[in-house]
Symmetry: C2
Subunit: 202 residues, 2 copies
């Protein structure tokens, strides 16, 4: 984030923390301020509205997650190994968080996407951009795999990349409902199938 | 539902209607009563709490949806045709709802699953049962397909069935974010791949 104000950063951190564990609608400005140890008057100095804070929190979350995705997906390894590593890392992240707190809270971005009314066009538009970015990152890796001749060129397209992200988010939903990261261990096997590769024991 | 009291039914209908279009947390008992034209005192006669109403609303929703799933998946047709029809019907249902209201609200069950805190164990347990039921219905169809020799017996298992439901819910998330049912038109192509079948133009 790199902004000079620690008040703004504390508000963002508090919002991220509260939104991770609870329904977004039940998290109020007063509670965010109390958690961040920031006076309510200062809140509106940093953010004109809760929606503005939400957009900033969503951006901060994706900026951090995107850096991890980009590092994994640009490693000097075959493209399919990079993609497999991303899915292994994802399962490990959820497993660690569950082991730490006892609860698997799911993906903040998907939680918001499904909770918020479709009429909240501003946040929805931001989530749309972020998920398009995820699809583009996966899609670029699929293009690399096609260039390496490890998947068919015809399947290295945005529709397949979206199916991989959809599979990921759907499995995170199962993991959250079960409070168990085990479904995420299947991601690579299913992704291989979505890529038209034969089933393997992984 | 089939209960004699129309007050209870109106409360359930109102809750389903409000929960479909809005964050669950923002829907209060007073608003549900107003929408249902039921006095607040009567609410607590029918439901001891909002949580009890939520459980009943979730059950009513799945009872109706399950009947449609079961009808499609037990039709006298080859198993893969039945599965394909289920996915076509799902896309058509979301398309019709979007065309009617202008907004694609997503799957009530998945919306609740991702919005509710993982600590809401009662509703989470019910959602877990319902999604397990979905996986079982798909799994039975996969077993039929294996018996018909149209998919490999090794892939006709609950893990594959869960991947199909995960793909479905993930694509509903994209459809909701985009307010466009188009991603749901890819479900059959991706499901074929998850079943280890070759890509086809559908």
């Amino acid at each position: 984030m790199g902004r000079p104000s620690t008040g703004r950063e504390r508000l963002l951190d508090a919002a991220c923390q509260l939104m991770r564990t609870r329904s977004y609608s039940t998290v109020g400005v007063a509670e965010i301020c109390a958690t961040a140890d920031v006076r309510k008057g200062s809140f509106y100095h940093f953010f004109p509205s809760k929606q503005e804070l939400t957009l900033a929190a969503v951006d901060a979350h994706w900026t951090e997650q995107r850096a991890a995705w980009a590092a994994t997906l640009s490693a000097p390894r075959p493209a399919l190994d990079r993609l497999r590593q991303l899915l292994i890392d994802t399962a490990a992240t959820y497993r660690q968080a569950r082991d730490r707190s006892g609860t698997l809270h799911g993906c903040v971005l998907a939680n918001l996407a499904l909770e918020l009314s479709a009429d909240d066009t501003l946040v929805r538009a931001r989530l749309q951009e972020i998920f398009a970015d995820q699809v583009a990152l996966i899609g670029a890796t699929l293009a690399d795999a096609a260039a390496e001749d490890t998947i068919a060129p015809a399947i290295a397209n945005p529709v397949t990349a979206r199916a991989i992200v959809a599979q990921l988010e759907g499995m995170v939903m199962f993991a959250k409902i079960d409070n168990d990261p085990a479904p995420l261990d299947d991601l690579w096997a299913h992704t291989r199938l979505l890529l038209g590769l034969r089933p393997v024991l992984t």
